[in-house]
C-alpha cells in the first residue's frame, strides 16, 4: 500500500512515499543543508517559506511514482507551527481532492514514536513490535513520556510544564553566545571536556512525585549564574558551562524515564525526536536501561531522529489497517497544540 506523506510541522518541508513500514522515497528540505559536510545555513523557523518549497519537495518524493500508484495521503495535523502546518495540509487536501485519494490526519508525535519501527526500502531493520513500550519523546518543541500500549494506543504519562528539553539546550547555547540552534554545538563542546559536571546546576523536578518535566528553573539558575561572570570568564569556561548544563538536562530526562519505568513496570523503551541525535544521551539511557535489564530502541536511521514525512506515512499505514483513517478531505484542519491524548475524530 503506497502512501504519500507530507510533514510541515516546523522548519522542515518534508514529503515521502512509503509502503507499509518501508520508506521508498524521502525528501527533507532543510535537513539536506544540515547534513552537508561543510557550510550550509541552518534556516530559522518562521523564515521557512514552506510554500516556496512544498511543490518541489512533493514532486521530488513522487519522482518515481504516479499519483495513480498512490493509495492514500497522510499529513501532519499538529502539533507544530500553525502557519507551517497549514501549508502541508492545504497541499495534501488539494492532492486528495484532485486524485480522489483517502486523506489521513496524523499526529506528529505519533510519527516520532513510530520512527523507531521504520524500515529502509529493503525492509531493514526487521524490528518486531513488542508492546507495551515506554516512549520518551524529546525535541525542540516537546518533551513527553508516553505509554505506547498497542498500535495507535497512547497514554501521555508525563510532559514538560514549560520549556522542552531541546529548547532548554538551545536557549543555554544562545546565552553562551553559540547561536541557535545550539544542541549539536553544546554536545561537541561538552565532549571536549569529557562531559564533566563542574557546576552542578539544579536538576528540576527530581523531587516532584509525578512524571512531568520542567526546565525553566534550570534556565533561570543558569542565566543567573552567568550574570555574575564576566564575558571573559564565560568564554574561558564555555566548555564546562555547556557540559554542566547538558548534564543537568540529561540527568533529568534519565531520572524521569527511570521513574516512569518503575511506575509502569514497562521496561521496553523507545526514544524519538531531535535531541536523541545526541550520542552522549544515548549512552546515558543505555546505561540506565541495562540496570533494569530492559531494552531500548532509537530511530534506526539518522534522518528519523529529526522531523521527516516518512514517519507520518508509516503511521498513516497503521491507521488504515486499523480502520482509524479519515476520509473527508475538508474536515481536516491544523491543530497546533494537538496532543496524543486528543481523540482524532
Amino acid at each position: 500500500m503506497l502512501i504519500l506523506s507530507i510533514d510541515t510541522s516546523c522548519d522542515e518541508t518534508a514529503a515521502a512515499v512509503t509502503d507499509g513500514r518501508r520508506v521508498l522515497s524521502n525528501v527533507i528540505y532543510s535537513q539536506a543543508l544540515l547534513h552537508s559536510q561543510w557550510g550550509g545555513v541552518v534556516p530559522s523557523i518562521a523564515k521557512r517559506a514552506h510554500e516556496e518549497k512544498i511543490d518541489f519537495v512533493v514532486g521530488k518524493a513522487l519522482k518515481k511514482y504516479k499519483m495513480s500508484d498512490i493509495n492514500a495521503i497522510a499529513v501532519t495535523q499538529g502539533p507544530g507551527l500553525a502557519v507551517a502546518l497549514e501549508v502541508g495540509i492545504k497541499k495534501a487536501k488539494e492532492l486528495a481532492i484532485k486524485y480522489h485519494k483517502q486523506l489521513i490526519a496524523v499526529n506528529h508525535m505519533e510519527g516520532h514514536i513510530y520512527s523507531n519501527f521504520i524500515q529502509n526500502s529493503k525492509g531493514n531493520p526487521k524490528r518486531e513490535f513488542r508492546f507495551p513500550y515506554l516512549a520518551l519523546l524529546i525535541s525542540g518543541g516537546h518533551t513527553e513520556l508516553v505509554l505506547f500500549e498497542g498500535h495507535l494506543k497512547y497514554k501521555v504519562i508525563g510532559e514538560t510544564l514549560d520549556d522542552a528539553s531541546g529548547e532548554a539546550l538551545d536557549k543555554a547555547g544562545k546565552i553562551l553566545g553559540l547561536g541557535y540552534p545550539a544542541g549539536t554545538v553544546i554536545e561537541r563542546l561538552a565532549a571536549e571536556v569529557n562531559n564533566v559536571d563542574m557546576y552542578k546546576f539544579p536538576r528540576p523536578m527530581l523531587r516532584s512525585a509525578n512524571l512531568n518535566f520542567s526546565f525553566s528553573g534550570l534556565k533561570t539558575s543558569f542565566y543567573y549564574y552567568l550574570k555574575n561572570l564576566s564575558e571573559k570568564e564565560i568564554a574561558e569556561k564555555i566548555r564546562f558551562l555547556a557540559s554542566s548544563f547538558q548534564e543537568a538536562v540529561f540527568d533529568t530526562l534519565v531520572y524521569k524515564t527511570e521513574k516512569a519505568m518503575k511506575t509502569t513496570g514497562v521496561k521496553n523503551l523507545i526514544v524519538g525526536g531531535g535531541v536523541i541525535a545526541n550520542l552522549y544521551l544515548r549512552k546515558k539511557l543505555r546505561k540506565m536501561i541495562k540496570i533494569y535489564s530492559g531494552s531500548i530502541l532509537f530511530p534506526p536511521y539518522k534522518y528519523l531522529a529529526g522531523d521527516n514525512a516518512a514517519m507520518i506515512g508509516v503511521v498513516g499505514y497503521f491507521k488504515i489497517v486499523n480502520n482509524l483513517a479519515w476520509s473527508e478531505a475538508d474536515i481536516i484542519d491544523r491543530m497546533p497544540k494537538l496532543s496524543l491524548m486528543n481523540k482524532v475524530e
Partner: protein, 374 residues
C-alpha cells in the same frame, strides 16, 4: 590533472600557484578531502559549483588562517570574538555576516558566510602562503558521501568531472573525523520596541516573590485594565531569559480556564480557542527565535488582530516593525519583568487605557508587508 603527495617538495607553492590562476585543488583537511578554490575569485567559484553539481543558492564555507583574516571578510563583534577565540581553531563552521569581499556565490540568501579556522597544519600552511580565504567544501559531488581517500574520490568521478580538477594533493587515508558543527551567528537584528515608543501615561510597579505570586499578579493586572471592548487586547511582556514571562502568561491563562500553557518559543505561537468568553482566542506568542524583520511577515498576525482576541507576546519588544500595526489595531499593555534576585522579581506595568487610539487610517488594509523591499 596533476597529483602530488602532501610531503612532496614545493607542494604548497604548487597549490598556491594553481589557486592564483583560478584553479580547482583537491586538498586534505581536518575532516575530509576538500575542493579548494580562491574564495575571492568569482570564476573559480563558478567552476567549483559546476564541479560539485551544487544546487544554486546553497552556501559554501571558506577556510581562513586566523582571526585577523576572519575579521577582514566577516563582521564579528567583541562578544562573539571572545567566545570564538575559545573554541577556534577547531571543527566548527561559524556563520557570520559577510563583508562581501569573497564571491557572492558563496553566501547564503541573507548575506551570511560560513567560516572555518581549521586546526590542521597543511591547510594552515597553505593559507599562510596564499594569504586569502579558500573554499572549504567537501570534494565529493552534492548528495554523495564524503571522501576520506583520493582513490575513493577518483573512483566516484566521471571523466568530465575529473577534467575540472587542476591539482590533487594526496595525504593518504584521512582519519574518519566527524563533520564540522555549525554555529550560526549571522542573524539579522530586529528592531526593538522601547518603552518610549508606547506612549504610556500610567505606570504601576509590583514585586513578586515566587512564580505563584507572579501568576496572581498577572490576574490582578488583567482585572485592572480598562480598554475598549471592541478591540483585541495585546500584552507585550519584556524580560530576560528565565525571568518568568511564561509564568505570567500561565497566570493569565488560568483566568480563562487554560491550564496547559507551555513555552511557545519553538513554534512561535500557540492559540487556545475560548468558548463563551470575552475573547474568541487566547494567542500566546513568543518572538524569542525571530531573528529578522522578514520573519515577522510570515506570522500572519493580521488575522488575529482583526478579531476579538487576547494576544500575549513574550519577547514582544522584538515586534519592532509590526508594532505600529499592533498599536493601530489593538489596545496594548506593556509588562516589564526584571530580576531582583534569584526568586524575587519587579514588574513594571503600563496600561494605556486613557489613550485615544486613532482609527482614521484604519482601512482594514494589512500593513504587515509594507516595509518589505519591492
Amino acid at each position: 590533472m596533476k597529483i602530488l603527495k602532501i610531503n612532496a617538495k614545493n607542494v604548497f607553492m604548487e597549490v598556491t600557484k594553481t589557486l592564483k590562476k583560478g584553479g580547482l585543488v583537491i586538498f586534505p583537511s581536518d575532516t575530509v578531502y576538500g575542493a579548494l578554490v580562491d574564495a575571492t575569485n568569482n570564476d573559480a567559484v563558478k567552476k567549483l559549483i559546476a564541479f560539485k553539481n551544487r544546487p544554486p543558492g546553497k552556501a559554501i564555507s571558506v577556510f581562513v588562517r586566523d582571526f585577523r583574516m576572519l575579521e577582514e571578510y566577516v563582521c564579528l563583534n567583541h562578544k562573539q570574538k571572545s567566545v570564538l577565540q575559545q573554541i577556534l581553531p577547531g571543527c566548527f563552521t561559524i556563520i557570520l555576516k559577510s563583508k562581501h569581499k569573497t564571491s557572492k556565490l558563496l553566501e547564503a540568501e541573507n548575506g551570511s558566510l560560513g567560516i572555518r579556522i581549521p586546526n590542521y597544519q597543511p591547510v594552515n600552511n597553505l593559507l599562510n602562503l596564499f594569504g586569502k580565504p579558500v573554499t572549504a567544501t567537501s570534494a565529493n559531488l552534492a548528495g554523495q558521501s564524503p571522501c576520506y581517500s583520493i582513490k575513493s574520490l577518483l573512483n566516484s568521478l566521471s571523466k568530465t568531472k575529473e577534467k575540472l580538477i587542476d591539482l590533487v594533493v594526496d595525504a593518504g587515508e584521512l582519519p574518519r573525523n566527524k563533520p564540522s558543527t555549525i554555529i550560526d551567528l549571522g542573524k539579522d537584528k530586529v528592531e526593538i520596541i522601547r518603552q518610549g515608543d508606547i506612549g504610556f501615561n500610567r505606570e504601576e510597579i509590583y514585586v513578586s516573590n515566587s512564580p505563584e505570586q507572579t501568576k496572581q499578579l498577572a490576574k490582578k493586572i488583567y482585572k485592572n485594565i480598562k480598554y475598549p471592548q471592541d478591540k483585541p487586547l495585546v500584552f507585550i511582556i519584556k524580560g530576560e531569559l528565565g525571568v518568568g514571562k511564561t509564568v505570567f502568561v500561565k497566570g493569565l491563562g488560568e483566568l480563562f480556564g487554560i491550564k496547559n500553557i507551555i513555552s511557545p518559543s519553538y513554534v512561535i505561537y500557540y492559540e487556545y480557542k475560548l468558548k463563551d468568553k470575552i475573547f474568541d482566542e487566547f494567542v500566546h506568542l513568543d518572538l524569542y527565535n525571530i531573528d529578522s524583520n522578514e520573519e515577522l511577515d510570515y506570522l500572519n498576525l493580521q488575522s488575529y488582530l482583526a478579531g476579538k482576541n487576547l494576544l500575549i507576546f513574550e519577547w514582544g519588544e522584538k515586534a519592532g516593525r509590526i508594532f505600529d500595526l499592533i498599536k493601530s489595531k489593538a489596545h496594548v499593555v506593556f509588562v516589564q519583568i526584571n530580576y531582583k534576585n534569584l526568586t524575587k522579581r519587579r514588574l513594571v506595568v503600563n496600561t494605556n487605557y486613557t489613550q485615544e487610539i486613532s482609527s482614521d487610517n484604519d482601512s482594514g488594509q494589512a500593513c504587515l508587508p509594507a516595509g518589505r523591499p519591492e
